[in-house]
Symmetry: C2
Subunit: 389 residues, 2 copies
Amino acid sequence: MSNFVFRIEKSDTDSRARAGTFSTPHGDIPTPVFAPVGTQATVKTLTPDELYELDVKLILANTYHLYLRPGADPIARLGGLHRFMSWSGPILTDSGGFQVFSLESLRKITEEGVIFRSHIDGSEHFFSPEKSIAIQEKLGADIIMALDECPDPLDYEYNRIALQRTHRWAERCLRAHTRPDQALFGIVQGGIFPDLRSESVRFLTSLGFPGYAIGGLSVGETKEQTWQTLDVIVPLLPADKPRYLMGVGSAEDLFEGVARGIDIFDCALPTRLARNGALFTSHGRINLRKAEFREDPAPIEEGCTCYTCRHFSRAYLHHLFKAEEMLGLRLNTIHNLHFLLEWMRRIRAAILEGHFATLKAEFLSRYVPIADQDRQRSKELARRRGRIK
Amino acid sequence: MSNFVFRIEKSDTDSRARAGTFSTPHGDIPTPVFAPVGTQATVKTLTPDELYELDVKLILANTYHLYLRPGADPIARLGGLHRFMSWSGPILTDSGGFQVFSLESLRKITEEGVIFRSHIDGSEHFFSPEKSIAIQEKLGADIIMALDECPDPLDYEYNRIALQRTHRWAERCLRAHTRPDQALFGIVQGGIFPDLRSESVRFLTSLGFPGYAIGGLSVGETKEQTWQTLDVIVPLLPADKPRYLMGVGSAEDLFEGVARGIDIFDCALPTRLARNGALFTSHGRINLRKAEFREDPAPIEEGCTCYTCRHFSRAYLHHLFKAEEMLGLRLNTIHNLHFLLEWMRRIRAAILEGHFATLKAEFLSRYVPIADQDRQRSKELARRRGRIK
């Protein structure tokens, strides 16, 4: 019997949303799920105990970073990634492809693989599909990814050519993979182009992966294009396998992604924003650096049950940020992760109880997305300057 | 009845060590006690919950830093330092004097007070005894300090003159102090000079403070001079008042200080060393940055019960340090504080049970102090190079 069972508990009637459970050797993952990013074998600033307290069900670690430092072999000798970082829950590793193709340093792509230079010391390295799988087997995550090429989503010709190579690499990854306690996901590519995306889904599903990731989105296209592309891909994917939308994780995008049938999300943005002092509330983002919070005795969000909001005022967090105290980065990270995880739990409960559409409408009616906030601020500033009546 | 009661439970027969309890409005402090430093209203990297978990009984905050940022008035309006930083235990604030007299920026000392420039923005400020007390009353710590002048401990003439001013300032601090829920300590000065130290104790004890701090030590004199000076001061202090040795806090110094009758210690070194990767063990300090720890599966110290040692290997901590991950600074801080606090608890238990001398001898026989470690390393290197047979 497989180590990995995906059970759908409830499918929404108004959308493609579904609530389920993905069982892994390190525990069950209730879906839809948001996975915080632990690039270098640590979700920045937090201990595993804090992640358990936040009820995190899955974390992501980066193969590219861990391969370079401390190396996959040392981690394997130390008992694998779970023991190394003392995290007993499920882990997902990416293939390293996204980082390598994002590097500014010289690289060469051949049929065999990709040559790149380390961002740490400039040393030259080579990733092939087989090498990526070997590294991910040494790291020992529960869910691992096939190596894919990551082109600009708007460049049809590059996507058309890269897609064929990505498909051949997916086959090689499947052949190279040996560990039965790891689920190897294929990655759908093809930019914003319906014909390429459809072809990609058809090819990958013919190989029969235990789950499918959707790559190459949220990297330059408009939000409308993201959702339209999902509407092409998802109906072609098998209903009984988990679907993972890579690199997407703002609250409004979780609602939109779930409505389009996505089960797994990851994103470094919530934790990165936290370290920049940008904090989530149900009405949109606030920026802690602003002088208006200097003596504000309120928590980040009234009624929030996270450790930060239960104990500290905006004034204290503002002080910690201004004084460049690390505790502030921790407390901000706890809040932003709690916010996303809590909304994801509410989303799942709403699907199970049959009122996901209502929850989504309510949330989006109150929430001012980031881009709109910027637009409103510009308008307000312009109005103050007398440019708009 | 006073808010502050100091009860001595046991006095050692072989030394001046004693175990007691100092009661404050925010709880009882078992003595001897080590107070971690929370300069800017945070013990760097840690939450109050972690401090409770470490069984911290007293923390120190810096008046100079908090006066400049966020300011004493905002903290007062936000309910005082305890509420501001969400710490419910006892707090001690210094007078700001030590920082001001350590500043490289321009300053002017008069009978009235001291003029200095902010290290943050260069703005000019003035501290008088009355101002220091007013600020400390706004901050609202349980134990506060008189403003003193802090000369080079080896400069007799400067100490002689400064001491008279420090004594006049101590009188002014007493007159200015109004809050009955704060214990104002006088600070004994006089460098390494027995006549000045004796004079200082005689003068301050004639004013009748609820506790006495010993300043101007561990700032340039030899260890021998530190302990000789304590041997002059302590016998002249009243036995029934707590004694606080400022800025001393290595494990070996805690043993030596307790043996000489000290009840309260504070020091930023253990937390600062932790952030530099220098970690305490019963055999001396280890430096996590060294390549020898790259694949070391052992905890920092075998048998240590701190969160860090219960969950993480030296290899993981080495990785976090190399990868510049903030979690590493936290985990190191937790270990170093646990080490000092745990030894202080053992010291107190040993005094109560009558075997402090044995514990001290055992500890010092195993422990290689920092300076000796450096000397041993130099010898070893010299030996390897063939310079010593």
